[in-house]
């Protein structure tokens, strides 16, 4: 299965979600700013080009984890990607996770958005994610819940086969 963490606002959040999924950072611990900075620097692609799916690795269930920088509307993109993939006979292998929902669900939404706008210009992103415990916990919860859904989906598929 291909798991795509897609974002519009903040690349670091999507990258972090993928890294949490890949267990490069252990659950239940807040990463330090330096750690995120180091991860940012160690990965081959730091500035994700819009519309390109970047594979970052394979998780323990052999799912390929990817990051995608998209446009503003996630619904249209997911519909179009899933639709064309299904028509082409490969759509059942794709799973989408919107990491922007962590920002949008957060209570301090306006300040988060402002910081994400700054992040889009390469400013303060790592600092912001590294320092914000709430965001990190939300992100961890999101990845964990998506992983559970993913394993249920795989289980269902196995039963059907």
């Amino acid at each position: 299965m291909l798991v795509i963490y897609h974002y519009y606002w903040d690349a670091t959040l999507a990258l972090l979600a993928a890294i949490i999924h890949l267990r490069k950072i252990k659950f239940g611990r807040k990463p330090t700013t330096e750690e995120i900075q180091h991860l940012n620097n160690s990965l081959p692609v730091v500035n994700f080009q819009k519309g390109i799916v970047y594979p970052l690795g394979t998780d323990e269930s052999n799912n390929q984890i990817c990051v995608l920088s998209r446009g503003k509307n996630p619904k249209i993109m997911v519909n179009a990607l899933l639709g064309t993939a299904l028509i082409s006979g490969v759509g059942e292998k794709v799973f989408f996770v919107d990491t922007d929902q962590v920002i949008l669900q957060n209570k301090k939404m306006i300040s988060m958005k402002l910081l994400c706008v700054l992040a889009r210009f390469g400013m303060c992103s790592s600092y912001f994610v590294g320092k914000s415990n709430a965001i990190y916990l939300d992100l961890t919860n999101l990845v964990q819940s998506q992983k559970e859904i993913l394993s249920l989906l795989c289980l269902k598929k196995g039963e059907m086969q």
Binding site: K50, G51, I52, R70, A80, V90
Partner: protein, 165 residues
């Protein structure tokens, strides 16, 4: 080969381009307003359906023709579709994404906005039809170019397509 004609909302220019490709609209003259309005799915797509591909039919060579609305980020999404399919191992010579919005007249855009976004169908639809007729030759050119592209890649594409699920 699967051909996707895409525009903003899969309601107007992509429908007309797909119809020309399928022979539902003439290629030797400009169609009448009634011919355009009576096309299947013309000015019918609702806002929540944007992004969903719709099957329009099969052309004389067995190619499947679809229409697709990609909203304001159509360049990013079309790039993402190619990128995703490449990653999934789907042969890219079996799929063609064609931008049908580029030649669209501003009157069509205005009419489309009035009809689809605001729901003023009586005002918007005639404007759309008028705009389509004004830019019909450009749409015809796009379809003919697409048919040429399909011809040049059809034989290896079809061979690969048969092996797909």
């Amino acid at each position: 080969m699967r051909v996707f004609y895409y525009c903003y909302g899969s309601a107007h220019s992509s429908v007309v381009a797909a119809a020309i490709h399928l022979g539902l609209l003439p290629s030797d003259r400009i169609p009448t307003s009634a011919e355009i309005i009576n096309l299947p799915r013309f000015d019918r797509t609702k806002n929540h359906e944007i992004g969903t591909p719709f099957y329009m039919g099969e052309d004389e060579h067995g190619n499947e023709i679809y229409i697709l609305g990609l909203g304001p980020d159509r360049d990013i999404i079309s790039k993402a579709i190619y990128s995703l399919l490449t990653l999934l191992g789907y042969p890219l010579n079996c799929i063609l994404l064609i931008d049908a919005l580029a030649p669209v007249h501003p009157v069509t855009r205005l009419g489309g906005f009035l009809s689809r976004r605001l729901g003023w169908v009586r005002v918007g639809r005639p404007l759309v039809t008028m705009g389509v007729k004004w830019r019909y030759r450009e749409l015809l050119f796009i379809v003919n170019t697409t048919k040429g592209k399909i011809k040049s890649t059809s034989s290896p594409g079809k061979e690969k397509l048969t092996g797909l699920p």
